[in-house]
């Protein structure tokens, strides 16, 4: 029998519940010094480890250890609570800062819009009325009705830009007029002319234009 096999059997015999070794193995151990030494060493090792299993390490001052554990737990809980408080405080501060920021941003936006509207209003109201007999007005009439509404807008635009006296208001008006249909544009222009205290002759011309438009 090979020594390796014997040593394996010895291992099983020493460390498990095998009660007896086979006669063949016992004979081998008796006649083989190497396996015999292995067998003796294994028995001693087993005895010593079993004894070490019986020797219990002693926990000195178990109450002290319990108290240390509970003290650490208490500290941990305290830290956890203060961390929660810190978190809420920081969150509250952040929310307050965010609110202020939003108020400032939106307030400024609103201020800019209101300021722009006021300026626009002021600029529009500062623009003088167009005189009835101005070349500008005459030009408006000369474009209509022969050349149609498209030409009125084009001519009006270039004419008003050229005058420069009422630049902003005129440009603003042109922008609006450009969005309207030609009939609406014409009607509005005519309504404005009526309001400008024009002469009877001129009023007749305007009325004839009005009638012509309505007939269309």
């Amino acid at each position: 029998m090979k020594c390796d096999v014997v040593k394996r059997k010895v291992y099983e015999f020493v460390n498990s519940n095998i009660k007896q070794l086979d006669d063949e193995i016992i004979r081998h151990i008796d006649n083989c010094p190497n396996c015999n030494a292995h067998y003796e060493e294994s028995k001693i090792a087993k005895k010593i480890t079993s004894s070490l299993n019986q020797m219990q390490p002693i926990l000195n001052n178990p109450h002290e250890l319990t108290n240390d554990i509970l003290a650490e737990l208490y500290e941990l809980e305290q830290e956890k609570n203060s961390a929660s408080i810190r978190f809420f405080t920081i969150t509250k501060r952040l929310l307050a800062a965010a609110s202020i920021f939003l108020i400032v941003v939106f307030g400024y936006e609103q201020y800019i819009i209101v300021e722009k509207l006021i300026k626009l209003e002021q600029q529009i109201s500062a623009v003088p009325r167009i005189p009835v007999n101005s070349p500008h007005y005459q030009e408006i009439l000369s474009y209509y009705p022969k050349q149609g509404a498209g030409f009125i807008k084009t001519g009006l635009t270039s004419s008003i830009i050229a005058t420069q006296d009422n630049d902003l208001k005129s440009r603003f008006m042109i922008a609006r007029l450009g969005r309207l249909s030609s009939e609406v544009v014409s009607k509005r222009l005519l309504d404005q002319l009526v309001l400008l205290r024009i002469s009877n002759e001129e009023l007749n011309i305007i009325n004839s234009i009005k009638n012509e438009l309505e007939n269309k």
Binding site: I48, N53, I69
Partner: protein, 189 residues
């Protein structure tokens, strides 16, 4: 007894610190023995027990009642002990003469007497010194702590085959070490 533990766990889960104290008192000694046998040092073992119970408090809600509670606790203790083992750089100076003398005494007689923690730690250190981590853990839990193979498998999350092979190799190394230590003692007598 089992019912008591069930109630204690239930109370600890609900945050009852008195119940936790009972749990600590019930298991700290066993946890200490296990940690000591792995680390061979009383102070390190106490630190590990302390860390382990804090972990137990924190993770008690993850405990599955289908598992054996002691296995769950020992697993935590062993994991903490492994961390300590890996981080601990310092080695105690061991008096080989004293270790050999103690081993001879154990071999010759059947001592019922208790030996000091320090001496016991030195013996365990000497016989398990140089073993790879897995072999050392399997050997300590199976042979010195006296757990059964099934429990060792669960605690160390190892297969049956792995436990058996690591244990076999560890026992062979321990046998050789013991043989040398005992021979050293015989020479010096």
């Amino acid at each position: 007894m089992q019912m008591d533990i069930v109630n204690i766990i239930k109370e600890v889960k609900s945050g009852n610190k008195t119940a936790f104290k009972n749990l600590v008192e019930e298991y700290q000694e066993y946890a200490f023995r296990m940690a000591f046998r792995v680390l061979s040092n009383e102070e390190d073992a106490k630190d590990v027990v302390q860390d382990s119970f804090i972990k137990i408090w924190k993770s008690i809600n993850s405990f599955d009642a289908k598992l054996k509670f002691t296995t769950w606790i020992y697993k935590i203790v062993i994991n903490c002990a492994i961390d300590k083992l890996r981080s601990s750089k310092s080695k105690n100076t061991i008096n080989i003469d004293k270790v050999s003398e103690n081993l001879c005494r154990i071999d010759r007689t059947n001592p019922d007497e208790q030996i000091e923690n320090k001496e016991l730690g030195n013996i365990i250190t000497c016989i398990s010194d140089g073993l790879p981590e897995k072999q050392k853990l399997v050997f300590v839990l199976r042979d010195i702590q006296g757990l059964d193979s099934h429990e060792v498998e669960k605690i160390l999350e190892m297969t049956d085959t792995s436990v058996k092979s690591n244990l076999y190799n560890a026992r062979q190394s321990v046998r050789k070490k013991l043989s040398k230590l005992l021979a050293y003692e015989r020479r010096t007598i």
